[in-house]
Symmetry: C2
Subunit: 608 residues, 2 copies
């Protein structure tokens, strides 16, 4: 039954050789990998204005030069990542690039930072999208957490179905959003050029503003550059592209950069031209849409697609997290289970863990995740900086033909990203300090996991260890709880293996019962030695474990192997198990982990 | 470490023969078994007034005759239960009495009803007590659920420590509450007799009231009789008393009845004399206390002890639920685990399940459980009716000397309880209908569980079944994942038992890997047959299980037993298990439950 529910939710299992069909073409790739970056134009320009307006409405004109700064940063990032794509055609996230050029620890800092960041991406964007929806339908307002969790589950299922299927479904909202904003910007600019907007609406560029400071401008720039989170997604996901993967990925990246630049600068320009100031209740995009179209169909179209793309931005996390986890798991820094492909060939453990982690965040923050945004931005720019620096080192070290312009591009990228990171620490320290605590902890954890895997590998390898001792004989211990078919069955089994000795063990809670059982046993199996253990504290495991230990110590001297044979009856239906004390399970787990004995379970299947 | 935390929380384990020290004397028994009944005077009188005041303040005088009715009901119940105690000295809850006189199904209805009721008791009274506390400290108001859960956990731990210890701690608040109400009633009545209360405060008894109807009076009576929930607790808990248990229990019951009668009638009388009408914000007891003492120390003493006893009322559930569960489990109607005594000799599974179930209720209802009260009252009066009827049948059937007065007492009890039950259905159907759904379901479940246990017993008994077939030989299947010490170890073990055949099985996900492994194996273990299974869907269990099935079918023809020997390495520390895919656990569970094969786990303990 479980497997048929699974099929219904995520579809039939795919064979390993069907993997080619799960690759993305450029149109679909753009849709599922750029939703995070594109969605940020819905809040990026607003972040700039919010900082500027603290000085006064006259300071709004600074948004234009700041936007130019963000565009330069964007160009540097896109060009840098384009170079990374070609240099690391098997998927070069910040982790791979930093690790191979700067060393393991910078790589782990980048990887750990991004791993946490993708979880934040999902939690933050789903919460933001849910907020947009419940603002439109106030009756739903009490159910923010539930709705957000519902969306996370939906995204998780879509991604478990596989990348192409989720791409087909998710492409529409992304392109509709782009279309909606293009219409908005087009009509808006037309209005401005024909003089439909009064020039008094905004102060001209260059007007001196009292109270403006470098600190404010830096803060506004840092806030605006949070719109650039998500541009690294494509370079992580090269393995998901159709062949030739690097070329397709590079083209997709360039196209995404152009789209992002147009949308971002368009929104900033319109906000400036229409003299819009940010307000607590209505977003800047919504104000622009209302100025241009009024509250008609177009307005709701823009609002609706914006809400959708905010939720879909989470999908970038779903594309990037499992692939990054695979890279970390290949290097043994995180558990091996992230390497396993699920029924639909996606790395399902990564997808599921991401879903669970972001649901935990949503519940913990009651779906109010706005103040996680600066943390999230730092978590992106730190790996950006590291990967660009890694590329600098690479060019310097390898010096391939024509390396100098490439070096310059990456250096520019590195410097700008470093500056942005520092600006965040400088201007928003109270919101981002926690990264200084948890990143070292994560990196330490990575190292401990790696150390463990290496120790295990070392101990399992045949060549490096002393050969295991030969087994000279076998002793079998049979815990019995009564004289039944289950016990008979196990006893027959033990006898069939002709061990050197079989000992039946009975744990009793009172003396009378003990005597009675000993007599019954003598009649039933006079040849099998019975040991009774009195348990004054009513525990079965403790006396049994002590007894096993004693036998084991004696057996070890003669290189005898001790086996505990556990009789277990299996009810016909699974639910019936709760009606029986699962002492055999407990005994098995305890002995296996605490004592050096083999544990054999002999099932007795009930027919009714 | 876990065991030392356990010791800290519930104390050192007790030996089975220390059970006598865990018995209750009368003073302690009264405290822990009557807190539910006594606490209900804090809300019972108010329930009557709430109904009457819907007609008008003039109708308040009817509370006096209604209280007389409740007192008659109380006397009938106490006398009836006294008879039950002597007739069923081993603890006669409604379940035992109904079952042995009316038949299994009436017994199960009574038992199931009480089982659910004790859970409701805990949830309702802890919520009410928490409400009283957070009303006094409004800053805590947002944390009602958390505080209530905290109290449930505290009560669970206290009860896991054992009955005498919890009794010692819980006795003080109960007796303080009784003292506080005695002072209140004494001073109040003194004031009334010296004429300190204006007679205009209340309409005289007998004043005709427009709009009063039999329906209203019945409703008020039913509401008031909810104050009698909890009187059955003592008769359930006879095994917890010191010897002579029935005599001590009967005395405790009588004393509780007298206390309850005094407190209940005192509060009703004062409320009438002071002309108090119920208000949404302040409880009736609180109003009386304020009238008599003003807002001084005495007032807060009364309020404080009332809040405490409301929480402690939950303890009645903790005393009664595990004992009822033991009786049901002895008759195999609920899982056997309820029969197990914990470290401190209490029936810990019952205590823990009760705690968990009431926490679930508290969370589900956000600690607002008031509207569960009528349901809870019906759940008490239904078993009351059944047990009194059972006693009627018993006297009629056995006719011992002097049975006629006993028969009359139980008949009165039965009739009144039946009437109260019917009144609840008549006047509060919308709140109690659900009992008509869940009781039949519970009774059905009881029967299914019993049927399962009987079927199992039948199948395990040696005398009734055909003897199991002898085992002619052994085939061992060894799933291998690589060439390591773990595999070597398991192989040595299998060889030491000299089975007729050993088959190593390797599941591969791609053809090249398969070939490579076959070659390596041939070099390493040329004598052991290796079977490779190709798994296009990357599942290990499916192909392995199919293979095991084939081998098993062939083996069964010759009465051969198939054993699957699973190599498993055990990391040094428990947490390290999450770093390894637990495929061996899955394989084991799957094969054991789905196939008729023995599963042997050969551990390889890592040293680092």
């Amino acid at each position: 039954m479980i497997s048929s529910i699974k099929r219904l939710l995520i579809g039939r299992p795919l064979k390993s050789n069907e993997i080619g069909e799960q690759k993305l073409n450029k149109t679909k790739a753009l849709a599922i990998l750029s939703s995070d970056a594109l969605s940020s134009v819905a809040y990026g320009p607003e972040q700039i204005l919010i900082v500027l307006v603290t000085v006064g409405a006259a300071a709004i004109w600074y948004s234009i030069p700041i936007a130019v700064g963000v565009l330069i940063l964007l160009s540097a990032l896109i060009l840098s990542y384009r170079q990374i794509i070609y240099a690391y055609p098997h998927g070069g996230g910040a982790y791979i690039v930093s690790k191979s050029n700067l060393g393991v620890n910078p790589g782990l800092i980048a990887g750990g930072s991004l791993l946490v960041d993708y979880i934040l991406t999902v939690a933050v964007s789903v919460s933001a999208g849910t907020d947009a929806i419940t603002s439109a339908f106030p009756t739903l307002h009490g159910f923010n957490v539930e709705i957000a969790i519902g969306f996370v589950i939906l995204l998780t299922l879509l991604n478990l179905r596989g990348v192409t299927e989720s791409a087909s479904i998710l492409a529409y909202p992304v392109y509709l959003f782009v279309l909606a904003l293009f219409l908005l910007i087009g009509v808006g600019i037309y209005n401005v050029t024909i003089g439909g907007v009064p020039t008094e609406a905004h102060t001209p560029i260059g007007t001196p503003v009292a109270g403006i400071s470098l600190f404010i401008l830096l803060r506004a720039f840092a806030s605006g550059s949070s719109a650039l989170t998500g541009v690294e997604a494509i370079s992580n996901a090269i393995p998901n592209f159709k062949n030739p993967a690097p070329k397709n990925a590079a083209k997709t990246l360039m196209f995404m950069g152009i789209l992002l630049a147009i949308l971002f600068s368009g929104i900033v320009f319109l906000a400036y031209s229409y003299g819009i100031t940010p307000s607590g209740e209505v977003t800047v995009v919504s104000q622009i849409a209302e100025e241009i179209f009024g509250r008609n169909f177009m307005y709701f179209f823009i609002q609706g697609t914006t809400a959708l793309i905010l939720i879909l931005a989470a999908n970038t996390g779903y594309s990037a997290f499992p692939l990054l986890a695979v890279n970390l798991a290949k290097d043994k820094f995180i558990p091996r289970m992230f390497l396993i492909r699920g029924d639909r060939l996606g790395y399902s453990n990564g997808i599921i863990i991401l879903g669970i982690a972001s649901i935990i965040l949503i519940v913990a923050f009651h779906a109010k995740t706005e103040h996680l945004i600066p943390l999230y931005a730092v978590g992106v720019f730190l790996p950006f900086t590291l990967s660009q620096s890694g590329m600098m080192v690479k060019w310097l070290r390898e010096k391939p033909e024509g390396w100098i312009p490439k070096f310059i591009i990456n250096t520019m990228g590195a410097v700008i990203c470093l500056l942005v990171t520092l600006m965040f620490f400088l201007t928003k320290f109270s919101q981002v300090w926690s990264i200084l605590i948890f990143l070292p902890i994560i990196v330490l954890l990575f190292h401990r996991i790696r150390k463990h895997y290496e120790a295990v590998g070392e101990q399992l390898r045949l060549t490096t260890c002393e050969p295991t001792l030969p087994i000279e004989g076998n002793v079998m211990i049979l815990p019995v709880a009564g004289i039944t078919h289950v016990v008979e069955n196990s006893l027959n089994y033990a006898k069939s293996l002709s061990p050197d000795q079989i000992i039946a063990v009975y744990v009793s809670f009172d003396r009378e019962d003990e005597k009675r059982f000993e007599e019954k046993w003598k009649k039933w199996q006079p040849d099998i030695r019975l040991v009774t253990l009195h348990s004054p504290y009513r525990s079965i495991i403790n006396p049994l474990s002590k007894f096993v230990n004693t036998v084991e110590h004696k057996a070890r001297e003669g290189n005898y192997q001790v086996t505990v044979v556990i009789p277990q009856f299996i009810p016909k239906k699974g639910w019936q198990n709760i009606l029986h004390n699962q002492s055999s399970l407990l005994i098995r787990a305890f002995l296996l982990y605490r004592r050096d004995v083999v544990v054999t379970t002999v099932p007795y299947h009930l027919k009714k």
